[in-house]
């Protein structure tokens, strides 16, 4: 079996586990939805309709949701002692990292879809360039997943890791959060050039962390 097939196998196993017991995804969707609902109450309806404010809150919510989903996913492995079995397989660590990233990106895609539609409808946001919005969201999610999985792996089996993972992940995610927020705001308000430029940064960020993750992070999975 090739490395890519193993990654696909871990990802599909992860997604079917999430489908059978969708507590991580449900918690993430609820979390994002609550934040979208609270947004206009907290900052006021007119400011909440500002594309940059809405995009910033959306991406911060999605970053926290990613942490929730990824931690729940690894908790499930630890509860079932499945991690130990996986890491002893040939190429198991690489496949585990790659599969977790793919599965997290897929789950976050769903969370982003629900949160995005809620934001557009409830906040009455403009949607000048829908294709560009989709592009930014897809690349933003792809850039988010490897960083969060890296940090959850580093904090695996540590005490206080629920507090540690956001401390480790959020500062590293700053370029992703800035690019995704500015890119989404540009796409919402009709600035195609800026949306594409920010998408390029998101793609570069995703590639860098994906490659770094696949190269060195599997060594930390135990």
């Amino acid at each position: 079996m090739t490395g890519l097939a193993r990654v696909g196998l871990v990802a599909s196993r992860e997604l079917s586990a999430e489908r059978r017991q969708p507590d991580g995804a449900v918690a993430a969707v609820t979390f994002v939805a609550v934040l979208v609902l609270l947004e206009s109450l907290v900052v006021g309806p007119s400011r909440a309709r500002d594309a940059t404010v809405a995009a910033a809150l959306f991406w911060i919510a999605l970053a926290f949701a990613a942490i929730v989903v990824a931690m729940r996913s690894f908790d499930r492995e630890l509860d079932d002692d499945a991690l130990d079995a996986l890491v002893v397989l040939p190429g198991g660590r690489d496949a585990l990292f790659g599969g977790k990233v793919l599965a997290l990106a897929a789950t976050l895609g769903l969370v982003a879809l629900v949160g995005g539609v809620l934001s557009l409808v409830l906040l009455d946001l403009p949607l000048a360039l829908p294709v560009h919005v989709v592009l930014v969201v897809v690349l933003g999610v792809v850039a988010l997943a490897p960083v969060v999985v890296v940090d959850v792996v580093l904090a695996l089996r540590l005490r206080a890791r629920a507090a540690l993972v956001p401390i480790l992940a959020l500062p590293v995610l700053v370029p992703q959060l800035v690019s995704a927020t500015q890119g989404a705001a540009a796409a919402l308000t009709g600035d195609a050039t800026a949306a594409l430029a920010w998408s390029g940064i998101l793609l570069a960020f995703a590639l860098v962390y994906g490659v770094v993750g696949l190269t060195i992070v599997p060594a930390a999975i135990e």
Binding site: L158, L164, L168, V172, V212
Partner: protein, 240 residues
């Protein structure tokens, strides 16, 4: 195998001299910064904070690049010296990043009128500070030596990506912060020659302080590990 150890006896021998050199250069740099360097025509004497702020920021960069190199060294060779160097450099880097932030803030109040403003260089530096506090936190929560070193090394490799972001943030975004005056892309440093010399001496003094701190902290870390291994009755690995 590539020899990646550090000559321990050599480090022990030069440490007192390193301390003396650091103290002497620090004294010279202080005199030059406070008395010899001319007063700035626009900012007056408040600009002299630069002689602390710039070297502290330089040391922060240096320290975090050393964390990266030591982390790669650990992942490559698993020699304890590299992990000790990584933790020592991270601690010193956090200290000097904090000093750069505080000194910058003291300078900003009379110059910009505020202690803090949300501009790219300040925010990215503060983010870098938080990142390495997280690095030290990760280390403090792990008990197993090898696992802690590996996890910290991976994080040390990842976090170094922020160093160029901090340095180049003033070029990438509209920034209130001064653009690079010494390491400029095109041309010589945009600084009076006496000011530049004083700044270079300050940077050299801070770098010697860093080297002294490093040699002392690495030695403490290695002897702490030898003690732990000794107490556990385990055969300690060969230390450099």
């Amino acid at each position: 195998m590539i020899e990646t150890t550090f000559p321990r006896g050599f480090a022990l021998r030069i440490r007192p001299w390193l301390g003396i050199a650091a103290a002497a250069s620090f004294a010279v740099a202080s005199v030059m910064a406070l008395a010899w360097a001319p007063t700035d025509a626009v900012q007056g004497d408040v600009y002299r904070i630069m002689y602390v702020h710039v070297p502290a920021a330089w040391l922060a960069y240096l320290a975090f690049v050393v964390v990266f190199l030591a982390s790669v060294g650990w992942l490559w060779s698993k020699r304890p010296w590299f992990d000790a160097a990584a933790v020592a450099s991270a601690e010193i880097g956090v200290l000097f990043t904090g000093l750069a932030l505080v000194a910058g803030s003291i300078w900003a109040k009379p110059t910009w009128g505020v202690w803090w403003t949300w501009e790219p260089r300040l925010v990215t530096t503060a983010v870098m500070f938080v990142m390495y506090v997280g690095y030290l936190l990760l280390r403090s929560l792990s008990t197993d030596f090898d696992r802690r070193a590996t996890r910290a090394a991976i994080l040390g490799v990842i976090l170094v990506l922020d160093v160029p972001i901090v340095h180049l943030s003033v070029l990438w975004a509209n920034s209130l912060h001064q653009l690079p005056t010494v390491l400029r892309a095109g041309g010589s440093p945009a600084l009076d020659s006496a000011m530049l010399l004083t700044l270079m001496v300050s940077v050299a003094a801070f770098t010697l302080v860093y080297l002294y701190f490093m040699s002392a902290r690495v030695a403490i870390e290695l002897s702490r590990r030898m003690t732990i291994w000794g107490a556990a009755g385990a055969q300690p690995p060969r230390l450099p």
